[in-house]
Symmetry: D2
Subunit: 290 residues, 4 copies
């Protein structure tokens, strides 16, 4: 389990692969953009010659890709991961994608003897660099046990939450709660300011009581100052809300608040704030009122 | 400042008045229901002969009443608090009511030389008994300074958040955030369970990351078990959402998520869960799906 | 039943009172603003010397006032309508107010032998001038029968919908549906335009099928052109949505879509469009997207 | 233009194909289920031997399929429509699918000289049988002109609304408005009934004024009686709301009311009402309140 293939060396995947090199793994990477591979080499990893080569030589394969269609293309199409995988490969998809796509990938893998885990993360670029991600893992218990050592290089909270797709479902639940709390804090700020109450004092009280949250702790000061440097971009949260609604549709449940929050985040994007931090949801609630 | 009049000796007001007795204040109380006065006497307080008598003798008057109409009646109508108040009285209304009512009471008081603070609390019955309430105070800085000693008997977090009505506005903001987080956690649970993911494991992950909140910390276990003993009753939260929407209307702002959450809490009540803990919002999200 | 007192001679009440004069009634009017009384005199009516005088001499009393507090003040306070009413007076409140206020007025009237109907209208200024209002009447069947002749001067659709307050409830239901359809048509326009589909062609198709509505028939052209001359003002619809939510609260029901629509109309007002036609809800949906 | 291939002979496609036979076209049909083909033969049409054969012989090809994935499979995959189409074929997809899928099909067709129109319909099974559908057509003006004669057999309102995908966008706009009006009427009924107002009388008034709509005209009686025989099934409307949200996402716009309505329709399905008429949205609003 010493040879790791890593496909997708972007903002998240790049530092994650570098951490694996640092931990002693032999990492061969691949990315459509040449910069990612270059940085991996500088960190001590190897440049892979393509998906086929990387997959054939890997004991563990990790993908970190933007969305469901990219995972489908890299993994399921002819010439992709599964076509070249040797039986017994442990394949960990750490992308945030739709749970039903994760399940399809896992089933296709199982038919070929490939062990597949879905393992989306939270914690952002900083967590990727520091190796302090939270990792939600779906798949078989055995495969989770086999992957644990590798995952512990990448994150500090690593939880096996259920069968294939379960990691994605938990990530979707996480994102709907996060998006919703931003909207609520935004409405609180708008109400306080319109009532000529100092929002700093008001949110201090909220943070100390039952309304308290990690978001209030970490973001209330920057939200009050309207500083929206990412952090986690609105565009990505917009993508994730699409996944959350798709997950709900797939599971056959209706989530009314999530349905509304998804549109407010879509509004942040429509207003041109896609590259700002997701706390910029405050700008949407403000704009509704101006 | 040693003589305290206390009107409203219910679930919250009763133990608050008793705490003041214990701290050495001479407390005279009044309540429409005889039980409250009786308990105050047992705790060492005095039974007041009516609003007029209590108000005339008090250095500090505290009211803890159910809603805006009761405060208006006890304070503003003929025979009420303001008619009998001596100039200089420090009057602290600790009820949760509409900010505009608090402002009207403060203005009417000011015209008579009565110093009025709005000082709603959070922390529930337990906080009232233990003297650990959070108290959000609106009014003049001088009056807040004068009231601090008394308030410190009742709570541990005591914040002067702005002019008259500001205490109520902060309380309204608190309640809209709390109601909203319950709805979000409920939607997360429903999504996880419908996807056959263990909600305990899923919420553990959420609690450890950016989705983390006091509510997840304190209530996720009871919500998963469907234990809804109050705590803070749905009926009261329904009242408070009415106040939040009235405060938004008064301030001239639109709060779309709050507008939806208010209806979901109204649904909890319509479904007969008014006496359950407000975390029973989970029952509403479940019922939408069955 | 020939002598009519008319309190409230504004945009709606003025032409309504004039229509009664034209139909042969002896009408004595009163309004806080002198212009309304002056116009009534020019139309052949009489200027009343105050509420007391008008009420004492009237067989039928009509009020057309802005909102619940004004009705409470004119009718219920000392010196108001009920204090001066002779038993048997037929009092028709045509204001749009909260159903529970209408019920309280009716009960207070009944105790004094005054027959009270709530009879809010729709049809706007044009309907008031042309005598083509729709009138929704709540109260006793006998009283409705007694009022019919007078009401037929004012409107063309006159329906007895139930006991006291029922007229207001139906008006509230009307307004929530109207507000909601505006929001839906606005979202349709925004979707069509953003997709580079000619909204005129698109809405023509909608108007001809199951999505068809009076609003699409009357307003789609002006909405597409962004012409928002009232018509019925956003400010008034905002007031009416407050009544609808209060009616729902009173009736113990949750109305999630209404809760959201009320906030979108509040947003139109917060954005400074209070004096525009309520079809300006389109500006809110547009602004969310810019 | 006399030979028509018709793929998808279900509840809608079956009677549409039969109408074309009756109008003198030579129709060859195909469906995965044998019953549809059998009925077409009885109506005077021909049974096709598969997609390839039908496409090769057709001047005009029509597809009427359940959703985007089926259209993609029948049209775009190897062995599908485009592989076998002769240049110049006029291909009319009358399925209700995502606008972006329609655009992709049109582009793929254009590259092969196939003229593609998207032409979703409204009017339901009855409209299909009677040949009275409304048909919203996206594509080139020439191609629309070429298709008009065939389409006039199937519908009475046939509108060219814009370029490829525009037909689907208009259909999506139609469905979001229809779903929303059902929700609004449902909330009106629940408010009226909870207020003990006869809903029949109340809705009669609404139907006669600005709140009037085709849905109130056609469905208020059955909604009040709780008769939910389809009509148009909840399951299909649920599918269509997914398309509307996907269309909004694709167009980069946020539609807050649509976001909420989509969840309420999802709730109807989650509650087991998928096979009922979409007016059964009333059951969702009722259940929220019980």
């Amino acid at each position: 389990m010493n040879t790791v293939g890593f496909i997708g060396l972007g903002i998240m995947g790049g530092p994650m692969a570098a951490n694996l090199v640092r931990a002693g793994y032999s990492v061969t990477g691949y990315d459509l953009a040449p910069g990612g591979v270059e940085r991996l080499r500088e960190a001590g990893g190897n440049a892979g010659g393509g998906v086929a080569e990387i997959v054939r030589e890997a004991d563990v394969l990790i993908t970190m890709l933007p969305d469901s269609p990219q995972v489908e293309e890299v993994v399921l199409t002819p010439g992709g991961v599964l076509e070249h995988a040797k039986p017994g490969l442990l394949y960990i998809d750490m992308s945030t994608i739709r749970p039903d796509t994760s399940r399809r990938v896992a089933q296709a893998g199982a038919a070929l003897g490939v062990r597949v885990l879905d393992a989306p993360v939270s914690g952002g670029e900083k967590g990727a660099i520091d190796g302090t991600l939270s990792i939600m893992v779906g798949g078989a218990a055995d495969d989770f046990a086999a992957a644990r050592q590798v995952l512990e290089v990448l994150g500090t909270t690593i939880v096996h939450v259920g069968p294939s797709g379960a990691g994605q479902t938990v990530k979707a639940a996480n994102q709907l709660v996060v998006g919703g709390i931003y909207a609520l804090v935004a409405e609180a700020i708008v109400l306080l300011e319109a009532s000529e109450v100092d929002p700093r004092k008001g949110l201090d009280v909220l943070a100390g009581g039952l309304a308290g949250s990690r978001i209030l702790d970490l973001k209330r000061e920057t939200m009050i100052k309207r500083e929206f440097r990412p952090g986690f971009r609105v565009d990505l949260h917009h993508k994730d809300m699409g996944i959350a609604l798709a997950a709900a549709r797939e599971a056959g449940v209706a989530l009314p608040v999530t349905g509304l929050i998804a549109q407010l985040i879509a509004a942040a994007r429509a207003q041109g704030h896609g590259s700002l931090d997701h706390s910029a949801l405050l700008k949407v609630i403000e704009r509704i009122n101006r």
